[in-house]
């Protein structure tokens, strides 16, 4: 689902969550999935504008991300559909 307010930026910043290294916090720009697949993510707090950070990966190489104070396991394919942008690593401290 391309959320309207931020859809254009997604084309410029084509960084996907799947490419983000561990422990690097990023901001979610948009979710490049049809609404019925995006809905479960939204319900779990993966909302455009939120801070999201990959924290570990499964034995099969799928990521676990920390979002909104909880841990969420994703598939690599899903992570590749989340358009993100880098934020300054010190921005959220304190």
């Amino acid at each position: 689902m391309q959320l309207p307010a931020v859809a254009e930026q997604a084309h410029i910043e084509d960084l996907r969550l799947g490419d983000v290294p561990m422990q690097q916090e990023v901001e979610l720009v948009s979710i490049d999935l049809p609404v019925e697949l995006a809905e479960p993510l939204l319900e779990r707090g993966v909302l455009p504008g939120c801070r999201i950070c990959p924290v570990q990966s499964s034995p099969g190489g799928d990521p676990v991300v920390s979002v909104d104070g909880s841990l969420l396991a994703l598939r690599r394919e899903t992570a590749d559909c989340l358009c993100v942008r880098l934020v300054s690593p010190f921005q959220d401290v304190g």
Binding site: E39, R44, Q56, G60
Partner: protein, 741 residues
């Protein structure tokens, strides 16, 4: 009877009917309270705090096999609480969402309590706002306030209360804090002493707003008493089948009735049709991405409300213990070995721990109980056929099922629930997801598969946690490849007598255990194989995106787990098995005792099945046992023993009589009996294979039908494993015989 009172009566009666349809027993209560909330917010704890042990479980969707309901009294009023399944939203995509939504809408609870995780307010408010769209009788309970404090989150409940327009109560249910305030708030809303003015969406995006208001006025014209016409309109525009049906049947108008006896006009059919037509017509005027826009707005609103009522980041959030444990339990190197170890210990405890109580129960029910009842019936002078049918058939089959099934289940299900409570099971699903992904299945199928090792019927019900229909069907159809508790005894017995005996005595136990474990692993392999085949043939489709919350590890609550898992899982599964075992016992006795021209029906059937049995490396007795023992796998071995005695002339003086199941007195005599019946190593190996790969028991078949509501998928789930079993057994038999020549 005047019009006034008949309307009132039909109104009360109507509500009762819809509650019965929703699975609620129509007993007496003053107020009905529904408990809603996201998963992992401590909803069950709130439920237990409210009801204590005055709760019972019904057979209806929920977190586990069943839905829980309970009763409490407050200021002299009896209040019934229904624990709804934990859901993130009420947009009916999964079974649980549908169940929760239907209950809030059609069950018309007097109060809906929404339990909210204070540490994740935004996300939880999404559900709260959805519920407020449907009903105005809501109380919000901000649970886990202690965790919020620890995580540096400060909340302003009175601000939240004024934003939401309904009472907001804070607390920590685990420690009983806030429960009395919650009771008070529920009571005030239920009695109507406290009026609420719920937060509702006033204005959609302009092009959507035009359509919604137009439809809303048409709905209002047709159903003048419906308070939430805007929500109804939006659902109709979304093509929500349940709401469409409520309009079509006129039930929507009934929903606004209260018990005041007010006369409400029934909406005539043409007006109802006009609403539906208008919805269909107006849908075309909406922008193509209108669902996206509505959803995005809804989340933005939840975020806005949350941001007004909380302050985050007071203390640096610390999840270090969880992180460290996760790094261990889901690590590349140790994730799998630790998982196998933990699950292995659970199975080992189940098998080892069940031995003693199982044999005690068998002694009590089968040996002593049966002979005591026989003596009783002899002294009462019952005719032989009645005595045989009731005691040797029905009673013995039931006694067998209980003594074989109850102990392992009473160990397995609580252990499994403890792992679930602790938070480990989501990690198992996460570890295994990459393998399930390759098979085109869902990661949570790992959990339903594990559940199936306890009982396939319970495993099938547990597939409700999978929200995508295609993957859920795959999980249902392949659940039978998990070797269930009912089949372990067959495996262990046959492996001990025939395979363990090949090894030197001191290694016998290890070898037979290894044989049984290989069969279970073969089952897992077949599960992956058939999932893969299904997802490339009849259940083709895109792998749904998989996202799974890994909840924080929480110390499991031992006593409560023991109580609920025994009630929720063990007793219900056992009850179903007993219900199905009773007719099986009757049939087994009948076919052994009804004779036609000198031979019993069983003997004829065995002779008739013998050629097919031999072709598969089995024999006629085994096949017949699997036909008559379809209700419960537990009675396969006693049935085989009994019928082997029946059809083997040199054994005629053994056993307890025709159609009487008996306990294998010792491994030696059982082994001798089976050898005399013509059993070879091939028979044993193929019996183990066939016990893994054959149709599910009738309890499971019935459960599959109830869950899928489809004869087609039930038939596939029933025939697929037996088809595989026949092929595998046939191939093994042919290769074996070729190799032996």
């Amino acid at each position: 009877m005047d019009a006034f009172s008949s309307t009132c009566e039909s109104c009360a009666q109507h509500r009762e009917q819809s509650l019965v349809r929703l699975g609620l027993s129509p007993d007496r209560w003053d107020y009905l309270v529904a408990l809603a909330g996201n998963p992992n917010v401590g909803k069950s704890t709130v439920f237990n705090e409210l009801t204590g042990l005055r709760q019972h479980t019904g057979n209806w969707p929920g977190k586990t096999v069943v839905r829980a309901e309970g009763v409490f009294g407050y200021e002299g009023k009896r209040t019934k609480v229904v624990d709804l399944p934990g859901t993130y939203s009420l947009q009916a995509v999964g079974v649980d969402e549908e169940v929760a939504r239907d209950f809030v809408l059609f069950g018309r609870p007097d109060v809906t309590v929404v339990v909210v995780d204070s540490t994740r307010l935004e996300r939880n408010l999404n559900l709260v706002l959805q519920i407020l769209e449907i009903t105005d009788r809501v109380v919000v309970f901000l649970n886990l306030m202690d965790e919020a404090r620890r995580n540096g989150i400060a909340l302003d409940p009175s601000r939240l209360e004024s934003e939401l327009g309904v009472p907001v109560v804070t607390g920590t249910a685990r420690e009983g804090i806030g429960i009395s305030d919650l009771l008070e708030a529920v009571h005030e809303v239920a009695t109507g002493r406290r009026k609420t003015s719920p937060y509702r969406v006033q204005e959609h995006a302009p092009d959507i707003e035009v359509v919604v208001s137009e439809l809303s006025s048409i709905v209002l014209a047709a159903f003048p008493d419906v308070p939430n016409t805007r929500w109804v309109s939006l659902r109709l525009l979304n093509g929500d089948a349940a709401v469409q049906e409520a309009v079509r049947s006129g039930e929507l108008g009934q929903l606004s009735r209260d018990d005041s006896g007010e006369v409400i006009r029934d909406t005539p059919e043409p007006e109802r049709a006009r609403v539906l037509d208008a919805a269909t017509r107006l849908r075309w005027e909406l922008p193509a991405d209108f669902q996206d826009i509505v959803t995005a707005r809804a989340y933005a609103r939840a975020e806005a409300v949350a941001s007004h009522a909380q302050k985050k980041g007071l203390v640096k959030a610390a999840f270090t213990f969880d992180r460290r444990l996760d790094q261990l339990l889901t690590s590349r190197l140790l994730g799998f070995p630790l998982m196998l170890l933990i699950l292995g210990v659970v199975f080992w405890l189940t098998i080892e721990g069940a031995n003693v109580p199982s044999s005690m129960l068998a002694t009590l029910l089968v040996d002593q109980g049966h002979s005591w009842l026989k003596a009783l019936s002899a002294s009462a002078g019952l005719p032989w056929w009645l005595d045989g049918f009731m005691l040797d058939g029905v009673y013995l089959a039931t006694a067998w099922v209980i003594s074989v099934m109850l102990p392992p289940m009473a160990i397995f299900f609580p252990l499994f629930t403890l792992l679930e409570d602790f938070g480990y099971l989501p990690r198992v699903a996460f570890n295994l997801d990459s393998m399930f992904k390759k098979a085109g299945a869902h990661g949570k199928q790992a959990l339903t598969m594990c559940m199936g090792f306890g009982c396939n019927a319970a495993g099938v019900v547990s597939t409700r946690i999978i929200d995508s229909p295609r993957e859920r069907l795959i999980a249902i159809i392949t659940n039978n490849f998990s070797l269930c508790n009912g089949r372990w005894p067959t495996q262990i017995l046959v492996a001990t007598i025939f395979i363990g005996a090949l090894a030197p005595p001191h290694l016998g136990g290890v070898v037979s255990a290894a044989a049984v474990v290989s069969i279970a692993l073969l089952g897992v392999l077949m599960m992956f194989l058939s999932s893969w085949i299904l997802s490339r043939t009849v259940l083709r489709g895109e792998a749904a995106s998989f996202s799974l919350e890994l909840p924080p590890y929480r110390p499991p609550r031992l006593l409560q787990t023991l109580y609920t898992s025994i009630i929720d899982r063990t007793l219900i599964v056992l009850w179903r098995a007993v219900v199905f075992a009773i007719p099986a016992g009757a049939v087994i006795w009948l076919i052994s005792n009804v004779t036609i021209g000198g031979g019993s029906v069983a003997e004829y059937s065995v002779q008739w099945l013998e050629p097919l049995g031999l072709l598969l490396g089995l024999n006629g007795v085994i096949l017949l046992a699997y036909v008559v023992a379809i209700p419960a796998n537990e009675i396969v071995i006693p049935t085989i023993l009994m019928m082997t005695v029946l059809v083997t002339p040199e054994l005629a003086d053994q056993g307890a009589g025709a159609g009487v199941m008996f306990e294998e007195d010792s491994l030696v005599t059982t082994g001798a009996l089976l050898h005399a019946g013509g059993w070879t190593l091939l028979t044993a190996v193929n019996l183990m294979l066939f016990s893994l790969l054959h149709n599910p028991c009738s309890t499971t078949i019935y459960t599959i039908y109830k869950e899928t509501r489809s004869i087609k998928w039930t038939a596939l789930a029933t025939t697929l494993p037996v088809f595989m079993g026949v092929i595998v057994c046939f191939l093994v038999a042919q290769i074996w015989r070729l190799a032996a020549v």
